[in-house]
């Protein structure tokens, strides 16, 4: 800026401010404001997303859209120092806090969110997208793709899925031709719960070429009797638990007749690793199961 | 002045008959005592007379009307039933409790009138409980509580007063006071009183007439000297006794001699 006077937009210094320029200025300013308003509502500006389920939060990060997330639950995996606001726990959402973030979109899952919370937010005018819980890989892929589309990250979603499917296929190929172990998948100790083939755990085992001794159970997560496990005598027991390492083995080790116990094939897997229904986590889960079933494989 | 009449009463609980074909009349303005051993049906008879128990057969008549036909609120203005002293669940004050006796006159929502307050005041003074009016019922002695319960009935300004074992739990002072008061009330204001008693001498001293119950039936009825006889006492109570008029008031006095052989 030259001269002692601050220059005014559109006006040469020293001259009176022409009315036409003022009008132009006002119209330009108005146009900018209106455009900004429109942009806000037309979706060009970044979406404000609140996620009410840990798996959905994880997928938002997988889609490389962390800047869209403004709210999440206490169980959601958030990076340290994240500025994402906590809106309660998945079972009991703090509606005020969720609403106060003025989200454009709220993500919920039938797995962990209550219907009344979803309806409460809808009554306040929030857009809530509810995803059904997934037990199969194909379902997880479809959900992931859908989420990618909603968040305008479809390309990224497709890329991730392509990569995951390729690695999954490769992993399965490597295991072809190996002997099929009979596996008991254990979730929890009292009561003793297992997974049928109609679950993602069942799918891990199927893709890894193992036989689930309770695969044909009528319900997805049936409660089973210890005696029945002994009768079916699996080769491997995979325990998914949060207990301290070693604690899961001891109850089985006293059964001398159990093949798995004799051969020391009782494996513990971290629950967090295998219990989140997203495509990437499915891949990691599969790889962990494969490693557990075929230790020392290349 | 109203009388109370039991007409051929048969009553009991469930299928079990406790009193059988009992009839008697309580004269207006008298003090009528029901006596008899435990299990003779005294309490059952008493509950029938006060309208608390429906008899299997027979009726109770108040001033000629069957009490089963009298609307309960009107019945409460005619007859007051004073229960045995018992623990009260909530800390009502004496005045609150006594005032409740005026409910039959006021109904559910009408406010109390100055006349109600006057009646309460009079009764409390008469029964010597005015200075404990703000005390909670549970904090009273046995004698005070009995007088409070009595006051709660008297403020109903009934014509008939029914009291069940009023002298149990009372010491001698209060027993005498209470029975004297009942006698005075019946003589002065014509109040008809029906009491159950276990003490034969108290009964003889204060009652105008007695009915002696035995195994659900009336064994003897009439003036005290007619009912309190050696034979009757032996038959009903299984004890040996002698009965003579006492040297001071000439009322029949029972001397207990021992068990019947």
């Amino acid at each position: 800026m030259s001269g002692p006077y601050p220059s005014r937009r559109g006006a040469p210094p020293g001259k009176a401010f022409p009315a036409r320029s003022l009008l132009a200025f006002v119209l330009a300013a108005a146009a900018v404001l209106i455009a900004a308003q429109e942009a806000c509502c037309s979706g060009d500006a970044p979406l404000r997303v609140v996620s009410l389920a840990p798996s959905l939060t994880r997928e938002v990060y997988d889609l490389q859209a962390p800047d869209l997330l403004v709210g999440a639950t206490s169980y959601c995996p958030l990076p340290r120092g994240s500025s994402v606001r906590i809106v309660g726990s998945p079972g009991r959402i703090n509606i005020e806090a969720a609403y106060a973030l003025r989200p454009d979109l709220v993500l919920a899952s039938t797995d962990c969110n209550g219907r009344s919370d979803v309806e409460a937010l809808r009554r306040l005018g929030c857009e809530v997208k509810v995803f059904a819980g997934c037990e199969s890989f194909s379902c997880m892929c479809a959900s992931f793709l859908e989420l990618g589309g909603i968040l305008d990250r479809r390309a990224r979603a497709e890329a991730v899925l392509a990569d995951v499917k390729a690695r999954l296929a490769a992993g399965q190929d490597k295991l072809r031709g190996r002997p099929r172990p009979r596996v008991f998948w254990q979730i929890g100790a009292t009561p003793l719960v297992t997974a049928s083939n109609a679950t993602f755990a069942g799918e891990f085992l199927a893709r890894a070429g193992a036989a689930n001794i309770f695969g044909d159970a009528p319900t997805p997560y049936p409660r089973v009797n210890v005696e029945e496990v002994l009768r079916r005598n699996p080769d491997v027991i995979i325990v998914v638990s949060r207990m301290e390492p070693g604690a899961a083995r001891s109850p089985w080790e006293r059964f001398g007749a159990l093949v798995a116990a004799k051969k020391g094939r009782i494996v513990e897997l971290d629950a967090d690793l295998v219990c989140q229904p997203t495509p990437l986590m499915f891949l990691r889960g599969f790889e962990a199961v494969a490693a557990a079933l075929y230790p020392g494989a290349p | 002045m109203t009388g109370l009449v039991a007409q051929d009463l048969t009553a009991g609980y469930q299928d079990h008959r406790v009193i059988d074909h009992v009839s008697f009349a309580v004269e207006p303005g008298s003090v009528f005592g029901l006596i008899g051993p435990n299990g003779s049906g005294k309490t059952t008879l008493f509950r029938c007379m006060s309208g608390l128990l429906k008899p299997f057969a027979g009726s109770v008549r108040l001033g000629g009307e069957d009490i089963a036909r009298i609307p309960k609120r009107r019945l409460a203005r005619l007859a007051a039933f004073i229960p045995q002293i018992h623990s009260v669940a909530f800390p009502y004050t004496v005045e609150e409790y006594v005032l409740m006796g005026r409910y039959p006159h006021r109904g559910r929502t009408a406010a109390f009138t100055p006349q109600d307050r006057e009646v309460v005041e009079e009764t409390m003074t008469l029964l010597d409980i005015a200075d404990v009016r703000d005390k909670r019922i549970q904090r009273l002695s046995g004698g005070e509580m009995q007088r409070v319960f009595l006051a709660g009935g008297l403020v109903q300004r009934p014509e008939i007063l029914l009291m069940d074992e009023p002298t149990t739990h009372l010491d001698i002072t209060h027993q005498v006071r209470l029975m004297t008061m009942l006698k005075d009330l019946s003589e002065r204001s014509g109040l008809t009183v029906l009491v159950t008693l276990h003490d034969l001498n108290m009964a003889g001293l204060y009652c105008t007439s007695l009915a002696l119950l035995h195994q659900g039936r009336i064994h003897a009825m009439g003036r005290p000297e007619e009912v309190l006889t050696r034979a009757n006492i032996e038959q009903v109570y299984q004890v040996r006794s002698e009965v003579c008029p006492d040297p001071y008031l000439s009322k029949p006095h029972v001397y207990f001699l021992g068990e019947k052989d």
């Binding site: 309660g88 703090n94 409460a120 | 229960p83 009260v88 004050t93």
Partner: protein, 328 residues
């Protein structure tokens, strides 16, 4: 008169608590924001929506439920002649829990769930009254029937828990802990109407409650036999309790502590005890709910936890301070 003054003070306290509660909730709003929202009801600011759509209805619901539970508490204590009786003594809560758990397992929510829950409450009331009328309808028979039914129904609920999925069990347990959040199923006017009805009935029957609490013998002073009176009062109070349970789950201690504590303040005469209890019940539950929302923000504690703790503390203090018990 001292008791009129108590009622007026309680009323003022209720208004103050309600006013204060508008400023406190699950999310921090500054006082100017709240004030602005209150003054401009139509605005669609965040604060405006939070205040008018969430907080104010919740405050009203808390006051209605708290008053109703306290009012029902006085009825139960009077009829059962026991200062430790409370609205859930007759198994209403167990029936409601069974209804709600069944609804959750069947995947119902909203109005169908509320209806099923209320049906559960109703069924348990009818069963208790039927069981006790079959015997002799004295206070001890009624209490015993209630206890028996509670145990039976609770074991059915436990059975359902043992076979249901963990998600359903989790949802049921959360429901059981009680919540004053809006489920959209029972509109506030309906709840308000129920409370108005209760209030009216209690006003009419206040003297009867005095009499019945003394024993069966005095009940006839106002014209109703003891049996009829007990059935009417218990039925009425149980229905209102059932509605509260269907709306907000099982919130304990309000119906027990409030009448118990207020009796020391206003005396036992129900003509004063009932209005004082209802006002205090509203204040108490509103205060507990506000604490539940703000103590561990943004996590919302179940309101039953706060009322339970308050109840525990109250009884501890009572036991330690009171002269040889007036509780028998």
């Amino acid at each position: 008169m001292k008791r009129t003054a108590t009622i007026l003070v309680l009323f003022a306290a209720l208004v103050c608590t309600m006013a204060l509660a508008v400023f406190l909730g699950g999310t921090a709003l500054s006082a100017p924001e709240v004030a602005a929202a209150l003054l401009h009801p139509g605005s669609h600011t965040t604060a405006g929506v939070v205040i008018w759509e969430l907080r104010i209805p919740r405050i009203i619901r808390a006051v209605l439920v708290g008053s109703s539970l306290a009012g029902c508490g006085t009825v139960f204590q009077a009829v059962l002649r026991n200062p430790l009786a409370e609205p859930y003594t007759l198994g209403v809560s167990a029936g409601g829990a069974l209804g709600a758990t069944t609804a959750i397992v069947l995947g119902l929510s909203g109005l169908p769930m509320v209806a099923l829950c209320f049906t559960g409450c109703l069924a348990s009331i009818c069963l208790v009254i039927a069981m006790s009328v079959f015997r002799d309808f004295t206070a001890s028979t009624i209490i015993l029937s209630g206890v028996v039914l509670s145990f039976l129904l609770s074991s059915v609920v436990m059975f359902i828990f043992s076979v249901a999925s963990s998600r359903d069990v989790h949802a049921s347990v959360l429901w059981l802990m009680g919540s004053l959040a809006d489920t959209g199923a029972v509109p506030l006017p309906a709840l308000g109407a129920a409370l108005a009805f209760l209030l009216g009935m209690l006003f009419v029957f206040a003297r009867d409650m005095n009499l019945i609490s003394l024993g069966d013998e005095k009940a006839h002073l106002l014209g109703l036999g003891p049996g009829t009176l007990k059935a009417v009062l218990l039925g009425l109070a149980s229905l209102v309790t059932g509605l509260c349970v269907a709306v907000s789950g099982i919130i304990g201690f309000v119906g027990l502590i409030i009448p118990h504590a207020l009796r020391r303040l206003t005396g036992a005469d129900h003509q004063w005890l009932v209005p004082a209890s209802m006002l205090s019940g509203g204040i108490f539950l509103l205060a507990c709910d506000t604490i539940a929302q703000t103590a561990l923000r943004p996590y919302e504690l179940p309101v039953g936890v706060i009322t339970g703790m308050a109840g525990g503390v109250f009884f501890l203090a009572y036991l330690l301070k009171a002269s040889p018990p007036e509780v028998f």
